[in-house]
Amino acid sequence: MEKLLEVKNIYASTNQKTILKGLSLTINKGETHVILGPNGAGKTTLGNVILNNPAYTLDKGKITFDGHDLKNLTTDEIAKLGVFMSFQLPAEIAGISTFNFIKTAKSKQQKNVNVFELKEELNNLAKQLQIKQEMLSRDLNLGFSGGEKKKNEILQLLALNPKLAILDETDSGLDVDAIKVVSKGINLYKNNNNAVLIITHNAKILENLKVDKVHILIDGKIVHSGDAKLVKEIEKNGFSAYKEGK
């Protein structure tokens, strides 16, 4: 199996507080991984550290993506290698339409973006994700409902088609129908050459997805890994067994 992401014993901090304390994780092409963990375990930190958000510091350890050491790369360089993150709270940008933004992002991947083809592609995707077409001409995320924002993240995922999709709490605050749409989008994206890392604290979104590996993140470390069955167990018993067990 071909390794895509390798996180090796990393320590990371933000605001002078160490959040990740020796986390390791390997994701191969074709796999879907899930990280489950309670609030404050370091779930959001992981995605930010992989994308080298300047607000976070990698103090120790190494992150390799598709053969590249990410340590000295900027966020946009990492994105261009093929890492995508769906944000829990995507930024609202006034004055730039969602369409124009995706067009700009697309133009960073390929030289000549055909505006008409892109428009058609996005209209199509919008339909599948039950997104109103007019959302594409609205300012990026501005005044979007929670559900619209999350769907818009999935729309971008499908339009940009990266090698690795990190989905940070993509299900939080969504109703059952929206969760179904989002997992449909993830299934549309997934194939044998890419990978998905779902970071979440609830398991609803996983019902419609084929999951290969599940990791339990407690206090900055993966304390237990298993297969999809682990999801059911956490749903039933919560994290307390793992918290006490450490």
Binding site: N48, L51, N52, N53, P54, A55, T74, T75, D76, A79, K80, F84, M85, F87, P90, A91, E92, I93, A94, G95, I96, F101, T104, A105, K108, Q109, D139, Q156, L160
Partner: protein, 466 residues
């Protein structure tokens, strides 16, 4: 992450100098002899010289404003107030001397005239060198000419309106303007005539150690309509240049005027400009303004909502970079009943630039059922820049709907991170956010200028063309 490059703006598009060639350049300084000489050079009627001399007296009596940017570096002894270019006014670009023609070609003026304008005026230093208007408009009685020609050809019209909107004693730099004014456009739109395409006057100051004092006088008669565009720029010199223009707008019953400005003076310019509109019954004036250049700007267009049901909107943006202090804003006086004003102002500051929005909303007791809504936003691109809003509201009756909203902020780092996570470089991410911030204003500008404004923003942020 690498720090954003915030180098000096590359002004290459505007910063080209022609040799300081002229037919006549008056000695530096300001006194009665100089004022008389300017009038003599122009072969003016005596009534105009009287206005000039009266203005000079007022200028000498008035003191500098006690608020706003520091103007102490302005020394009129170092400014030549009148520079006559090496040509008289032409109505065909072919006849304009090569170096001056090339200047305006680089600025895209003849091209724009060809594409989407109904008429063009082009001023080089102190005099208009080119003026033209489409023939069919002339037949309808539209007058679009330089102010000097208007004084001679339409003395009664000029006498009726000149200095009746902006009085000589308004402030020190208006008095200065009237003493030495030269050039500028005169527009008269007769009753009921609606111009579909805009008229545009462009002002270029090439000569160092000098000033430009153009006077723009526009009369839009009942039921008529006009879009007027003015543009201005200058190459950069090491010493101070001065611009003290004056714009007087008379907009009659049911008439409409849109006045668009894009100003990109060089960073050695003191831009102390005065603009005012008197708006009659059911009439409307919309101001659209982009201020990018100058070292110091003090510019606050004033709409006087004199007639019942008259309206005005101001949509403006200023971008203050290193060494710039742009003190701009809008003033409105509600006099008539059911009058309304809407202000949407934005400012961007970076590299230590200071952008101040200064406004006055005055609602007089007569202005019952007036509405006024003011919104101003400031965006600071770093910690050393400043953005302020200084609103002054003077509401003298109770039957008014008034709202005022001011926000000053910075680009959020999380927004930058979000955009970079989609593959945009940090510079691109910042430029995108700034363009988005400016978008509500730039979409109001004439298309060519909106494109130009986005280009200027990218330049300002990237510090040069790749």
């Amino acid at each position: 992450m690498a720090k954003t490059k915030v180098a000096q703006i590359n002004d290459s598009l505007y910063d080209f100098k022609n040799k300081d060639e002229y037919a006549f350049k008056i000695e530096k300084g300001l006194n009665e002899d100089i004022v008389k000489e300017i009038s003599k050079q122009k072969n003016e009627p005596s009534w105009m010289l009287e206005i000039r001399l009266k203005a000079l007296q007022i200028y000498n009596k008035l003191s500098l404003p006690v608020w706003g940017p520091d103007l102490s570096e302005l020394d009129m002894n170092n400014i030549a107030t009148y520079v006559k270019p090496n040509t008289d006014i032409k109505s065909n670009w072919k006849d304009v001397p090569q170096n001056i023609k090339q200047t305006f070609e680089k600025l895209g003026i003849p091209q724009a005239e060809h594409k989407y304008l109904a008429g063009v005026g082009a001023q080089y230093d102190s005099e208009i060198v080119y003026h033209s208007i489409k023939e069919d408009l002339q037949k309808l009685g539209v007058i679009y000419t330089d102010i000097d020609s208007a004084i001679k050809q339409y003395p009664n019209l000029v006498k009726q309106y000149f200095s009746k909107c902006v009085p000589l004693s308004d402030h020190k730099f208006v008095a200065l303007h009237y003493a030495v004014f030269s050039g500028g456009s005169f527009v008269y739109v007769p009753k009921g005539v609606k111009l579909e395409k805009p008229l545009q006057s462009y002002f270029r100051l090439n000569s160092p150690d000098s000033g430009q004092f153009e006077h723009t006088l526009i009369i839009v008669e009942d039921d008529a309509s006009l879009h007027f565009i003015e543009g201005c720029s200058a190459p950069k010199y090491s010493k101070i240049n001065l611009h003290a223009g004056c714009v007087e707008l008379f907009v009659k019953d049911n008439a409409y005027l849109r006045y668009s400005t894009i100003e990109n003076w060089s960073k050695n310019m003191l831009n102390l400009n005065t603009k005012k509109a008197i708006i009659e019954k059911n009439a409307q004036v919309d101001w659209v303004s982009g201020s990018f250049g100058s070292k110091i700007s003090m510019l606050y267009p004033l709409s006087v909502l004199k007639g019942d049901n008259s309206r005005t909107e101001y949509t403006g943006i200023s971008f203050a970079g290193q060494g710039q202090n742009l003190d701009t804003g809008f003033k409105v006086i509600h006099i008539g009943k059911n009058t309304s004003s809407v202000v949407n102002a934005r400012s961007i500051s970076k590299s230590g630039g200071i952008a101040t929005y200064r406004s006055l909303v005055s609602v007089l007791p007569t202005a019952t059922n007036a509405k006024s809504s003011v919104s101003c936003d400031g965006l600071m691109l770093d910690d050393i820049s400043r953005s302020d809003t200084i609103p002054l509201n003077n509401i003298e009756n109770n039957d008014v709907v008034f709202s005022h909203e001011a926000k000053v902020g910075k680009i959020s780092e999380s927004a930058i991170f979000y955009l970079m996570s989609r593959g945009l470089s940090e510079d691109d991410a910042r430029a995108l956010i700034v363009r988005g911030f400016a978008n509500p204003i730039s979409k109001e500008l004439p298309m060519e200028y909106a494109v130009e404004m986005n280009r200027l923003i990218n330049l300002e942020l990237k510090g040069g063309i790749g």
